[in-house]
């Protein structure tokens, strides 16, 4: 399972790529693996406000439907339209072409609540042990 070092992660299993005050958001390798084959995704539209810890969309896999929880607060400035054509990239390339939304970050201090790759890997390991 891979957790690239140049990203930060939320406990709700999203990754965040920070570029100035823009956050690009997707689901982690762990999330896509746990969900299994992803069938559909529905994301909030451009210009929608999002809050850290609140939903920004819904994803359905063969196993389950689950809310996608935003790792940052702000406004969605871009949505990955490619997902409408091929939702499979969420399973095959979740860190690159499988990005979901880009958010204009409202409060950079909120990023302190996120985990670096090592801390996220530890978190996932603990999460698994609880099961």
């Amino acid at each position: 399972m891979s957790f690239p070092n140049d990203l930060v992660y939320s406990r709700e299993h999203t990754w965040v790529r920070i570029d100035g005050d823009i956050a690009t958001v997707g689901i982690t390798d762990y999330a896509q693996d746990k969900l299994g084959e992803i069938l559909s995704v529905e994301l909030f539209s451009e210009d929608s406000p999002v809050e850290q810890g609140e939903p920004f969309g819904v994803i359905e896999s063969l196993k389950v439907t689950t809310e996608l929880i935003s790792p940052v607060s702000g406004e969605i400035i871009s949505v990955n339209e490619d997902l409408a054509d091929d939702v499979g990239i969420l399973n095959s390339d979740s860190y690159n072409t499988g990005w979901m939304i880009a958010v204009g970050i409202r409060d950079l201090e909120e990023l302190d609540n996120l985990l670096d790759a090592e801390a996220y890997a530890d978190y996932v390991e603990e999460y698994e042990e609880v099961d």
Partner: protein, 274 residues
Amino acid sequence: MEKWRVIPFELFDSFENMAIDEAIFRAGRQREMSPTLRLYGWESPAVSLGYFQNAEREINCGYCHDRGIDIVRRPTGGRAVLHGDDLTYSLVAGESSRHFSSDIIKTYRIISGCIIRGLEKSGVEAEMVEKGRSGSESAEPFCFAASYRNELLADGKKICGSAQVRAKGMFLQQGSLLMDFDPVAVCAAIITKDAEAKEKALEASVTSIRKSVGDNVGIDTLCRNIAAGFEEVLNIRLIEGRLSPEEETLKDSLLENKYRNAQWNMGRGAKSGH
């Protein structure tokens, strides 16, 4: 012994049924609560759609309208289900509560084990299917047309279909256990390319309590047995309860703003991989 709430069997219309389940799920997300098992039926026939389905693409809406069959979209995913001759259950619990886990498959397996015990008590030998078709093959809009992982079979035929939604550490699982099954009605209500062939296929692959044990097991007995299945397998006690005032308020709001709203029920043209 751990105590859970059970909301005893009652009939509601389709919109109320979905609003009640979602109210329990949402209220549970906001506070610590013990798991809730709810058993229910449908005042009149209804087709429930999965969260990502679109009614105009999947359902013969004119047929349903003419016959007074409601169309309602569920908070859970999966495929369309024709309700009326089924016992429906919902279970809301924290994914980290004692018996469950964040692992989706494990949760299905645990709940399936409880239902299998309840079916056994009713004279129906059931088993859980761990393997199924992959999503890329599963273009069928109707739930009982496909056996997925963790569905329940009796005599090798599907008898119970379930779907789950998760949010904020809680899950809601809804499932439909067939008391009786009419493939002709299903193929009339749900869009299918070759209705006659589909009817035959469903006849061969789907069963029901009545097919399995005749008229010996009524809905009351089945409810009692399913509840006992949960109690025995999980070593818990089910205490009869009702919705809290908070859940009632949420239910009323969900009914008004969501489930009695055609825009929700017809589907929002969700983006799909297919």
